[in-house]
Amino acid sequence: MKEKLKIGIFSFTSCEGCELTIFENSEEFTKMLNYVDIVNSRLIKEKNPEVNLDIAIVEGSIMSKKEAEELVKIRERSKILISLGTCAGSGCVQALRNFFSDRLKKKIIKEAQTEAFEKVKALDEIVKVDYYARGCPIDADDFYRIIKLIINNQIPRRYDVAVCKECKENENSCLLIKGIPCLGPVAYGGCKAICVTKGSYCAACRGVIRNSNVDSLRNVLKDRCKLSDKEINELFQQYNNVRGVREIKKLIKVKEQLRQDLYA
């Protein structure tokens, strides 16, 4: 028998719902325990020692310098870092703050959260993230797929398929054609298109696909759904707050800058 992998699960600013989703699927979770040791988890363990890890699973977005420093420490002592959920991947609701007016921001940050960053950050703006389990909350099957591949010494691939594919699998009719706003065509799939199937719209909670044709979708939202530019931005901002849309290139610069700041 191979030696068990050491896993740590860490939470920053989030609801910890994603972590709960991991434990909720008890069948897969107990099977996973044959292969891994959970050495660190605030939710299920009393003692959480700081040891070197094989896999660090991190959820939540980074609000303050203190959190950022802690994240860098986690990164330094783990071989693989998995970003868990939308908070860690693209900001989620707490990062709606990024779009507050300057006056309000000042009041909040200066008076309430003195240690806080002016902008809420995703993990990959600060450290290197190896794999992403996406969604708000995550899809348990999607998460265990990544873990299984790592345990079997394989490399999990980015699943850059739009939600539309799974939506058509479920035989839904297209909301955009009916004139209802939906971000499915540019959103990462893997969620089994659960929102649209259950009668809602896709808000791209799993993030916007790299290199997807966002400009074209903006035109569709304008033409078919009669949305204004501002409304389209609001739609995108519900879950994808940290980098607007498509600012990956800039992001790398930010990451380096921040790392320098932290080590200085």
């Binding site: 099977k31 996973m32 691939r157 739009a162 594919k165 058509k168 839904n172 044709n213 035109n219 078919r224």
Partner: protein
């Protein structure tokens, strides 16, 4: 030739579902949101059966499921045991339209007759009884089946044609003949001398497929591709609803314990990067232009060269489902317009 009275349609389907072999009957029905799709009759007894117009989704899923297990493997002490998974589902599909029947004939050409037969597809085809409904007129503004000859039902077991009193029922195979002679079903039908009219209608969406393979070969670098593909979202809706799209990829789904790992065959789409990804991360068909060109050329050019059939059956679903209004017929028209310029 038999006559099935209008009010007896439901009795006919009930009789079909009470067969000895316990075959499940699949019928076209409507969802609450208006989508017309195929589902089991047993589960949807209270719903109306849609016999007119095109269905929004074809019954392709009963022949090429989205995800299907083709093998599983287990690791014992010194060896790996691989087991092939074979399929033996049996069904009756009621109300399949001529375009979807023709799509199945094309899939037969590719997946059974051409080089390597797909065992599971072959088994499903053999185990499915097809009851078709003739189209008497163009069912919507985007279909163009009459120009491809796919508006006429072929390869069915039983075919229904709508007339004033109800339906004319004719058999197309021995399986169909035997089914119609069964007691429960024969009771509902009346003998008649009437013959269905010759089907001849013209669709509104005109397409000219004369020498189309030459046209597309000549215009491989046409500027039309870029113009049309610029707004493509790569959402894969068109390939998902296409009744004759069959491209797939194979992946291994690993279990936690080395046991119970599965090899899955999943439907793919040529609009995805992963479709042409090789050597871990090199995508050789990356631009939207190349992806759209692949889709159109496979439909009208490659299939004609390789399988001697046009893959497209002219149902027009890809046109209706596209959020950015990319229209396969318009593309061909545009290329013809630019041809030689």
């Amino acid at each position: 030739m038999f006559l099935l009275k209008k009010q007896n349609l439901r009795n006919f389907i009930d009789a079909l579902s009470q067969n000895e072999a316990k075959l499940k009957v699949i019928v076209p029905i409507q969802k609450d949101d208006g989508t017309i799709y195929y589902d089991e009759y047993e589960k949807n007894k209270d719903k109306e059966i849609i016999i007119e117009g095109r269905t929004d989704f074809s019954p392709k899923k009963y022949f090429l499921p989205e995800i299907e297990e083709i093998a599983n493997f287990e690791k014992s002490e010194n060896e790996v045991i691989i087991k092939e998974v074979l399929n033996n589902e049996k069904r009756i599909i009621f109300g399949i339209r001529p375009c979807d029947l023709n799509a199945l004939l094309f899939l037969d050409e590719v997946l059974i007759k051409y080089m390597y037969p797909d065992k599971n597809y072959e088994a499903r085809r053999k185990n499915t009884i097809l009851i078709a409904i003739d189209c008497l007129e163009a069912c919507n503004k985007s279909c163009f089946c009459s120009y491809l000859g796919t508006n006429i039902a072929k390869g069915y077991d039983i075919c229904l044609t709508k007339i004033k009193e109800g339906f004319l029922v004719r058999e197309g195979s021995n399986i169909g003949k035997n089914l119609l002679e069964k007691d429960g079903i024969r009771k509902i039908l009346e003998k008649t001398d009437k013959e269905p009219k010759q089907i001849s209608f013209e669709c509104k969406n005109k397409i000219n497929v004369e020498k189309i393979e030459e046209l597309l070969e000549k215009n491989f670098e046409s500027k039309v591709w870029q113009e049309e593909a610029e707004r493509c979202l790569n959402c894969t809706s068109c390939t998902q609803v296409c009744p004759s799209c069959y491209c797939f990829y194979v992946k291994d789904e690993l279990g936690f314990d080395d046991k119970k790992s599965r090899r899955l065959k999943c439907l793919d789409s040529c609009f995805l990067d992963r479709f042409s990804r090789i050597s871990r991360d090199f995508v050789f068909r990356k631009s939207n232009k190349a992806k759209l060109r692949q889709f159109v050329c496979h439909n009208f050019y490659y299939s004609l060269v390789r399988n001697k059939m046009i893959k497209c059956v002219g149902c027009g679903r890809c046109i209706d489902v596209c959020p950015v209004k990319i229209n396969i017929v318009e593309i061909i028209k545009k290329i013809r317009g630019y041809d030689g310029k």
